[in-house]
Amino acid sequence: MRFYMFHLMPWPYLPDDFGDKKKYPSAWVTLSNGCYDPEKGNALYNRYLDELEYAEKLGFDGVCLNEHHQNTYGTMPAPNLIAGMLSRRTRELKIAIVGNGLPLRDHPLRVAEEIAMLDVVTNGRMISGFVRGIGCEYHSMGINPTYSQERFYEAHDLIIRAWTEIGPFAFEGKHYRVRYVNVWPRPLQKPHPPIWVPGAGSRETLEWCAHPSRKYPYLAVYTPDHLAKMFFDHYRGAAEKHGYQASPYQMGHLMPTYIADTDSKAEEEAAPYMSWLYNVGLRYGFEYVFPPGYISIPSLRNILKFAHELDWANLSFRTLVDKGYCLVGSADTVRKKLSGFIKDLGFGLVMPLLQIADMPHDRTMRNMELFATKVMDPLREEFKQMNDQWFDAPRY
């Protein structure tokens, strides 16, 4: 069992009438950066960094950072910078960037270089997630979404080769061509830093991750538990087709989590945070998140089938709790629920999101402490046999 604390670094200071969806149809792309106040940002970034550093003291295995552009949901457009800040303020903590939006970069070798630098400085504490970026990002960065998938695969191949082959060598792709691939520094971890891939359930991606040449952990994000189970089952099925059994450490689940002394107090306090995260932070229209060509036509048809379940902006707090989009309750309740999820879904990477919306610093620290001492530590004990059983599998 491994525990990675997620942090989004959200921007919670929005206009009072932000509830007006006609006036503010989206928290992404078109929401004016006039809403951003650098003075408040100074305090907020430093406070968020304190929280990430505190995760090491509490015994988390690592922290998760991610890349999103031009929105209020998460003000971390350059997660490698945040990783750089954490690299010298932590000693044991793994730093998982989940991930760098490969197709959004002009050149993937910049990602190869930056992650390799971090890996050398941190003595091999980096986990390198690769993503395509959500659809909104293609509007914000001017990158053609119809090439998103092929740029992702090609950039991935270039980075892996740059990390594992001694250079210089030539790379001739459709989107990237380099005469002299020869990345300095080389990463410290062998064969290269672990690759994690968060996703929204595309079968192509699940099967690509499960391929024996990769075995990349797949991370379910913001899904109700039955969808996460469907994704993981598909992953396990794909692994079996290749003749191997997928380890629980090949599956991760991001879950917004809030703990208070009692269930009713937790629900009362968590309601505005969870509602903000899903209804405000993830507010965008269909065209924002599915720009043309970002997904294939079969994937689009598939997504339209469960679109109502991933229409995050319109889910009630009750639904979010009851369907397993988030974990809310006393430490005892959260531990039991999480234990049940782990058993049912079979994942080994637990990724709680513990700072949400405008949750103040003291409450965030308490949420982290309660999770670490009353959920994480007992669950490590409870699932001890998982480590023994999968002793030879990569455990991150």
Binding site: I143, Y288, F290, P292, L304
Partner: protein, 259 residues
């Protein structure tokens, strides 16, 4: 008259084609909305000309989008299609995205075209009047952007506020095909304007007076760029005058082509 649907193979890709009428061959290139088939505008043209209205790759059931990376791939496609149809020269009419392709075709291969009609053509990179974003708006918003009278039957029929699953897929497909060549640079070829001097054939530029996607300044720039061309506007029409005012648009087009 009614149009016949057939499939033409162009270098291994199946292209849907609507065909009908008699007279001089006329090739119609549709907008990014992919209008084709039984449309009043096309039927009116079919009464005067031998009409060929292909469905562009990626729209409806036409194949070959994976070969289209840039506008020049579209030029090659239509040179190949004209050849595949056994035509030596065509009257060329293009609307919106089809107008952009038609202008490029005229720049590169003026001898294939006897006369050219550009209707609210995209393609020019005018920094003071940029082309409006067609990719971000929801269907209802797109309707407001495209039509002068957005409550008209044709407007609501094409883009209702709420789309069925099939219509959602179809609109997504259309915008995907447009994005392939027009995401960045945005629905234009920055070099097209300086190359318009290559168009030496008789050219008519037709513009919806109320076009909010690509404003009349673009029509004026085309008119300035193509020596001897004429610009006419269609009143009470937005970006798609062929759909919104089919009678007026056909009359202007036909008068010019028959002249």
């Amino acid at each position: 008259m009614s149009l016949q649907e057939e499939i033409v193979e162009v270098r291994g890709a199946k292209i849907q084609l609507y065909k009908g009428g008699k007279g001089s061959p006329l090739l119609y290139l549709h907008s990014f909305m992919g209008e084709s088939g039984e449309l009043p505008f096309l039927e009116l043209l079919g009464r005067q000309f031998m009409l060929y209205a292909p469905v562009q790759p990626g729209f409806s059931r036409s194949e070959g989008l994976e070969r289209i990376d840039k506008i020049e791939d579209m030029v090659f496609l239509y040179v190949d299609l004209i050849e595949a149809l056994g035509l030596e020269q065509v009257l060329l009419v293009g609307s919106s995205m089809g107008g952009w392709i038609a202008a490029e075709l005229a720049v590169h291969h003026p001898r294939l075209i006897s006369k050219l009609v550009l209707i609210d053509a995209l393609g020019l990179d005018l920094t003071k009047t940029p082309i409006a974003d067609i990719f971000l708006p929801a269907p209802g918003e797109l309707r407001h952007l495209l039509f002068h009278d957005h409550s008209s039957e044709v407007a609501v029929g094409l883009l209702p506020d709420t789309l069925s699953e099939e219509a959602t897929v179809s609109l997504y497909q259309s915008r995907r095909a447009a994005a392939r060549i027009g995401w960045n640079p945005y629905l234009c070829d920055p070099k097209l304007e300086q190359r318009l001097y290559r168009v030496t054939i008789p050219t008519l530029i037709v513009w919806g007076a109320e076009d909010r996607v690509v404003q009349t300044q673009h029509g004026e720039a085309y008119q300035r760029g193509v020596a001897g061309s004429r610009l006419v506007t269609v009143k009470e029409a937005g970006h798609l005058p062929a759909l919104e005012k089919p009678a007026d648009t056909t009359r202007l087009t036909t008068d010019f082509l028959k002249d």
